[in-house]
Each structure stands twice: as structure tokens, then as C-alpha cells.
Symmetry: C2
Amino acid sequence: MEEILCPRFEKAMGLLSTRWVGLILFDLLKGTKRFSEMEADLPISGRLLSDRLKMLEKEGIVERKIYSEFPVRIEYSLSDKGWALEPVIREIQNWAEGHITKEEVEAEKSDKVK
Amino acid sequence: MEEILCPRFEKAMGLLSTRWVGLILFDLLKGTKRFSEMEADLPISGRLLSDRLKMLEKEGIVERKIYSEFPVRIEYSLSDKGWALEPVIREIQNWAEGHITKEEVEAEKSDKVK
DNA sequence: ATATTAAGTTACTTTTTGTAATTACTGTAA
DNA sequence: TTACAGTAATTACAAAAAGTAACTTAATAT
């Protein structure tokens, strides 16, 4: 492979195409969330949610705040770098609304049953 | 999980976050390509490239054209639905240019060596 | 002591990737 | 007519990542 791809783009694409990252961002764009809330919102297990949040925190996209209450409360939110992804998510939504048909959504569901 | 996520968005995100799909789209946005060209452009093996192109064709995003010459020539290009993803890719590039640092790109490289 | 609650982590199985070798389908050359 | 060459895949198999459910940790209430 030669230098066809911009390395920054490749890195960004690697991040965004990590399974579940898009949905996690979508959820956090609605506001600050707790671990268990995200677990309930998204079709993802605790193990992977934990992995992905750790990864996104390391990348400076997500911020983690601990409140030492009872029981302990931990809040996740987007950093500025994370908020800057809003246009990306918006364009994906845009495309989805214009180009994903109801049939395709149905097909997806029956795939999952298999 | 309740109905928190838009099913169309979830479907779109599933497609776009399939490994290599973003880079394949990026490559095809530069124009029609042959299998072996894409294989050379991208850090992806023939097996997966073949899988992904088949999937994208099934989703109506990529078009496949056979030219019965010698040797056979097969060209891949984007459909209208595929071209409609251009703004998504553009916003990702945008974000990458503004928020991925040189250090992060370097870190990526050394990860690969490991 | 024991139970409760949130936020993870571990152990284990299934699925998806990556790599290399092989096939299929032409057509050209010896 | 057998052998070789150029594309575009496909197969076989080892390695990595994902999915699931049970378990752990830490603080506090009963």
C-alpha cells in the first residue's frame, strides 16, 4: 500500500469504525450519561461498553467524572473534541433518513433473529 | 434496550462501522476502481475486500461492472446512494484534520509494529 | 453481619479477521 | 494441445475480537 490514504483520515476512520463507537457518540450527543444508562440505551454489553469508553477517554473524546456519593456515580460526557464529531453524526443521520428504506431496516431485524 | 435509537441510524452506523467500509468508500469517491487497484490502495486483504464489495453491492452502495476483455476487467463504482455518502466522508476528513494530532498518527504506527 | 447498588471485570464460547495457498476463467505462446 | 499468464476471486486454517453471563469491588444502609 502506498501513501494513497491520508494518515489522519485513516486514524479517524479507524476510531469511528470501531464497533459501537458511533452509537456511543450518538447517545452522548444527547447529553451526559451514566454507565448503566448507556448500557440500557444501547445494544451493547457492559464489557464492551467499558472497553469503548476507556478507549474514547484515552483518545480525548470522552470525559469521565466520578462523584463519590452513595452509591458512587460516574458520569460520561463528550469533550470538545467529542462535540466536534457532531457534524459527522448529523451527516450519517441525514444519509440514513434519505437512503435507508423501511425494508432494509426490517431485513436487519430478521438477520438478528437468525 | 428501548426505542432510544433511530433504527435507520442504527442500520447506517452498522454499515459504516463495518471494518474497512469507510476506506473503501474513500477510495471509490476518487473514481471507478478495479479490484486489484483497491487491493493496492488499501491495507486490506483480497478476502475481506471481496466480502465488503459484495456487501456494499447488496446494499446498493457500490456497482459492479464486468468487461469481458482479455484479461477480464471488473470495475467498481459508487451508485447514487454511495455518492450520497460523500458529505459523511467529508465531515470525517474535516474532523480528522482539526482534531487528530501528528502524535496520535505516530502512536497508531507504533501500535501496528507491536 | 447481610443486603443493596453502581460500575466494572473475568471466564468462556462464538464470530470475525488476517494470511497464504488455491481455483476459475479466459486468452496467448511453445 | 499442453503450458503459462493475468485478473478476480475463494478456501482453509490460525489468530484476534466480540458476545454472554456470572462474579468482584466498594460504599452504605438495615
